[in-house]
Symmetry: C2
Subunit: 245 residues, 2 copies
DNA sequence: CAAAAAAGAGAGCACTGCTCTTGCAATAGA
DNA sequence: TCTATTGCAAGAGCAGTGCTCTCTTTTTTG
């Protein structure tokens, strides 16, 4: 109250707390990048910070809470990458924007493999992410939804096929996530979303070693096919152009 | 070299060693299923086996070696599931066989989530799978290749699109993995392979929680689209049938 | 039958997450 | 401004981990 600004409302102690919390996360992220989540040790973080290990428990009640904080940060980082890519391609068509966002997510994953593993690898042992992570986790998906929303206000978007027995589920998903999009599109989008992370995961986790060499081109083509699958069709995009009648 | 028989060549000691090794793996697999890879503890396995922890090191030089053994077993288990599904649908058309194999892999993953995480989740910290795992890891892929091989000897298979700049890579991959298949098909197959594991991973790791409810139908449709993508097209399968001219 | 190899037991080292108590410093209320 | 409260870090300690080493017993082998 005494100091004016709104960003640092409390006294020196509160400010210090914020800084220390950030320093802990930063150091933890460094260890994460170096050795992976399972070798992330509270004691090592404390050691590197020149502080005793029990002191960290004033900031994070447990190792899992530290991990949760890092998970949220990771979701936000990849979400921000996606949003930036979208904004930088605001003038491009929906399909190019789609490609750019996929590429951005991939690049983030390749640059931060351990953080990617944290959010899209096997959940850390017996650990289930708390609800706090949900909004951060949704950001990338929202970007994709936005792209398709835009596409639907223009032209050049087709309705993906949808079997009759999946229609109720597709309508439910559409109502939950994008009421302004057709159920066909929402269902296809969710599938494409999962498949995108399959492609990225295989590359990040080394499953493509000795299999795919020219990964840039391979990914670009796969993503183009995914775009096709959600209805983002160029007027003339090859022999398999979707032709909804 | 000296003793003749191939199944139980050595004396009682060698037989005991095989049994103990199997018991260790079995107990470890139990712990894995219960708590996940990161909580798998050599000491706990030894305790449950009524033996002192250092004794296990006579059988597995390190915890990572135990994990590697479990990884190989897991690859073989899912590979066997895939092969069984293929054989049980030997009379069906390639597309139905494709669907059956995908479904089998998914079911195995849902039944053994922690083992699935072992082979397709984030690699255990700082751990890189040794070359020993390669043949076991390839089994599922071989099943898919076989299905497409069969399909190419019959009808009802289309060539997926392939951009010109990806053709060299596609030809290289085809030469490496399936010289008798067209490069277009091999490239599409590898993409579909990764995407399949994206779908399964999202389901196993809970990313579909609160998103997809009717997962059986959703998966079935997605897999049908994947089949379409690799050229396994029914004569009349909807508006987006591939039509290579 | 004796020498060699294999297996288990047990102690011990360095490390982990986490808890609890103790002393110190910053804050807030009178 | 003085004092009571609160926040923080330090240190010791517990139970657990992977792994190594030595020692004894048992089995195999020459």
């Amino acid at each position: 109250m005494s100091t004016a600004a709104s960003s640092t409302p409390k006294g020196a102690r509160a400010r210090a707390r914020i800084e220390v919390t950030a320093a802990i996360k930063e150091q933890a992220r460094r260890q994460l990048a170096a050795d992976g989540a399972a070798k992330l040790s509270l004691r090592a973080v404390a050691r590197d910070l020149g502080v005793v290990s029990s002191a960290l428990y004033r900031y994070f009640p447990s190792r899992d809470d530290l991990l949760t904080a890092l998970i949220i940060d990771a979701y936000n980082a990849v979400g921000e990458s996606a949003e930036t890519a979208r904004d930088e391609h605001a003038d491009a068509g929906p399909r190019d924007r789609w490609t750019a966002v996929c590429e951005a997510v991939r690049q983030w994953a390749l640059t931060h493999p351990h953080e990617y593993a944290l959010i899209h690898g096997s959940p850390v042992p017996g650990y289930t992410a708390p609800e706090t992570t949900i909004p951060a986790a949704a950001r990338v998906g929202q970007v994709f939804i936005g792209i398709l929303r835009d596409a639907h206000q223009g032209l050049g978007v087709a309705k993906p096929p949808l079997p009759a027995d999946l229609r109720p589920e597709a309508e439910r998903m559409a109502a939950d996530f994008a009421p302004d999009l057709p159920p066909e599109t929402v269902a296809a989008l969710i599938a494409a979303w999962a498949q995108l992370y399959g492609l990225i995961g295989f590359e990040v986790f080394g499953q493509f070693n000795r299999v795919v060499e020219d990964r840039d081109r391979f990914f670009r083509h796969a993503v183009s096919q995914l775009a096709h699958g959600v209805g983002l069709v160029y007027p003339q995009t090859g022999p398999t152009a979707a032709a909804p009648r």
